[in-house]
Symmetry: C2
Subunit: 351 residues, 2 copies
C-alpha cells in the first residue's frame, strides 16, 4: 500500500513500540510502552512528535489503559484521557483522536478493550490512507505549476504520521512523478527535525535533499528555482489560519515576497472548526534550555534568557493551498474552508 | 574612552593575542600569534570573526611579518599579504586594512617594522573611535522613532570589532540612553554567534537579552514591540546593497513586511565603492559540516548534502538607514551613498 521506509509507531503483543526520534539519526531505537501515563510522557518528551503521529500514539495510549481496565466501568479510563490530553497543547489531532476514543468508549457500558484497540488501529490505518490521498492531491498542484525545487520545514514524513507523511508525502509522490529535482530542507531549530529526521527519511528514499540553515531560506527562495514551499500543520482554524512549527509563518511571508507558492498539507482532523481564527490558538512555549543546550552541550551563557515558542500562526491569506484527504482548498478563507466540511472523502473542494 | 568589557584583540610584547571565539562562552582562552600565516589560519578557522575585527587582525598579521623582515626589501612581505588576503573572501575590511598596510609599506624603500606596527595600532584605535561615533548616530535614529525592543543578528560587538561594536555599539549606547527595554538576539546558525557571543556580551553588560531561534524572528516582529532590526555588514556596495551574515536578507524582508525599521551599522571602510551592486559580491560558502555537526556531534546523516552560504545580500531598498562614522545614509541608493564619500569624518550625511 505504501512506500514508506520506516514505521515509527507499531502495535504488537499488546504493546506500543515507538521509534525514539530524539536520538535519530545516530541511533534507531524502539521504546516499548504498556501504560497511558508512560505514553503521555513519551509525547511530552518528544520520543514521538508530529501532529498526526501524536494523535495515533494517544489513541494507542487509551487502548493500553483499556487493556488494563477491561470490564471495568468506563469512568476508570478518565485518568488516562486526562494525562494524555495534557501532554501537548497545540496539536489538535491529539484531542481529535482522544475524542474518537471517548465516543467509542461511551457507546459501551463497560470498558471493552477490543473495541478501543480496534478504534486505535483504525485511526492509524485511516491516517496512512489519508496521507496517500494527500500525496496525490498535492502532487497534482505541483503538476499544474510545473516542477523544480521545493523547500520544506520540520519533519512531516513517516516519522510524523501513521506512515508516508503529509507535506513529505506530497514530496514523495511528486518526486515519483518526476516533478521534483531537489528538496531544500530547513534544519528546523531548536529540535533539528529537518537535519535529523527529514534529511534521514529523504536520504533513505534516495530523494535529493539539500540541508540549509533556517535563516538561509530567503536567500534560497531568491536565488534557486524553488516553486513551492510545502509544510504540515498542527492546527488549522475555520478561516484557514495554520499553526505549525516555529518558522512556518516566516516562510509564508518570504514565499509571498518572492512569488513562490505556499502549500499546507494536513489531514482533515487537523482542522479545528470550533476556532474562528489563529488568534484563538494557544501557542506552546517550551523550555529555554532547548535553545541553550544541544545534546547536553551548553551553547549560551547560563545568565541568558531564551524565548522558545514552538509554533507560530500563518494567516490563511498567505497560503495558496491547504491539501487534505477530503480535498484541496485554494486561497483558504472562511467560505472555502467550510466547503470542506460537506465534502465526502477524497473529493476535491471547489477552488 | 569606552565601556567595552572585553578586548578580543591585543598587541603586547610583539605578539598578537586573540580571544578564541570558537570556544566561548564555555572557555575564555587567548591564543598568541607570531607569524602572518598563523594569523591567516586564525581568520580562516574563525578564531576571530566579524568584518572589522578581521581587518584589524590582518593588519597586525602584516606587522608580525614586518618584525620578522625588518630592513629587508619591501617585496619580502608579499607572501604575508597573499596569505592574509586569501583567508576570507567576503569581508571587505580585510582588503581595506591590507591596502592601508601596503600603502604604508610602499612609502618606504625597505621594511620598517615600526611604521607598519604603528599603522596597525592606528587602524585598531580608529575602529574603536568609529564604533563610538556610530553608537551615537544610531542611538539618535532610535531616539527619533521612540525606543522599545530591538532585534539583532549574529555578533557585532566588542568581539567583532576593535572594541565596543557596530550594531551592538548602537544598542549599547541606546540602552545607556534609556531607549531599549529588551534585545532579541537571533541565535544565528550555524556558528551560533548570537547564543555564544552576543548573549555573552550583553549579559556581561547587564543589557536585557532574549535569545530566539532564527526562524522565530518573524513571530517576534509580529507579536512583540520591536521598533528596529539592527545588524552589521561585511561589505556594502556603492548603491547601498549589504552583504552580511546569512539571515540578514531574511530579516530585512520580514522587517519591511511588519513595518519595523531596518538599520545597518558599519564603518566607512566596509563600503566598497568599486562594486556597483550586491550582484557583484562573491558570497562565501563554507563546509557542509558546519551544518551537519555541532561541537563534534553529528546532527544529520552522512549521506546528506548541505548548502552553507555564510552571507546573503540585502538590497539597499529594504534598508532604512546605513550608519557609519562619517554619517547616516537614510534610504540608501547610489546618490545618497556617494554623498558619504565627500563627507568629513563624524558628520551627518544629508538624509
Amino acid at each position: 500500500m505504501t512506500d514508506t521506509i520506516v514505521n515509527a509507531i507499531k502495535w504488537t503483543d499488546n504493546t506500543l513500540l515507538l521509534l525514539d526520534q530524539r536520538v535519530l539519526p545516530e541511533q534507531e531505537v524502539f521504546l516499548s510502552f504498556k501504560t497511558a501515563s508512560k505514553v503521555a510522557e513519551a509525547i511530552q518528551t518528544m520520543v514521538v512528535r508530529g501532529a498526526p503521529a501524536i494523535g495515533i500514539t494517544a489513541a494507542y495510549g487509551i487502548a493500553l489503559a483499556a487493556l488494563d481496565q477491561h470490564g471495568s466501568p468506563v469512568a476508570s479510563l478518565k485518568p488516562a484521557f486526562a494525562v494524555l490530553a495534557a501532554s501537548r497543547p497545540t496539536a489538535v489531532n491529539l484531542f481529535w483522536a482522544l475524542q474518537r476514543m471517548q465516543e467509542r468508549l461511551d457507546s459501551k457500558a463497560i470498558v471493552d478493550a477490543n473495541a478501543l484497540l480496534a478504534e486505535a488501529l483504525l485511526i492509524h490505518s485511516e491516517d496512512l490512507a489519508a496521507n496517500m490521498a494527500m500525496g496525490e492531491a498535492g502532487a497534482g498542484l505541483i503538476q499544474e505549476t510545473g516542477g523544480g525545487c521545493v523547500l520544506t520545514h520540520c519533519n512531516t514524513g513517516s516519522l510524523a504520521t501513521g506512515g508516508f507523511g503529509t507535506a513529505l508525502g506530497v514530496i514523495r509522490t511528486a518526486f515519483k512523478q518526476g516533478l521534483i529535482d531537489l528538496v531544500y530542507a530547513d534544519e528546523t531549530r531548536p529540535w533539528l527535525q529537518g537535519s535529523r529526521l527529514t534529511a534521514w527519511e529523504l536520504a533513505k528514499d534516495h530523494i535529493p535533499v539539500m540541508l540549509i540553515a533556517d535563516s538561509a531560506a530567503a536567500y534560497v527562495l531568491k536565488t534557486k528555482p524553488v516553486r513551492w514551499v510545502i509544510v504540515g500543520a498542527d492546527r488549522i482554524t475555520a478561516n484557514g489560519d495554520v499553526a505549525n512549527k516555529i518558522g512556518t509563518y516566516s516562510l509564508a511571508v518570504l514565499a509571498r515576497y518572492h512569488g513562490v507558492k505556499f502549500m499546507v498539507v494536513a489531514p482533515f482532523s487537523t482542522i479545528d472548526f470550533a476556532l474562528q481564527s489563529g488568534q484563538q490558538i494557544n501557542v506552546e512555549e517550551r523550555s529555554a534550555d532547548e535553545l541553550k543546550f544541544i545534546q547536553g552541550r551548553r551553547l549560551a551563557p547560563d545568565a541568558v534568557n531564551a524565548f522558545n515558542p514552538v509554533f507560530d500562526v500563518t494567516p490563511g491569506g498567505l497560503i495558496d493551498a491547504i491539501v487534505t484527504e477530503r480535498g484541496v482548498v485554494v486561497n483558504p478563507d472562511i467560505q472555502s474552508m467550510s466547503a470542506l466540511k460537506t465534502n465526502g472523502k477524497y473529493q476535491s473542494a471547489p477552488a
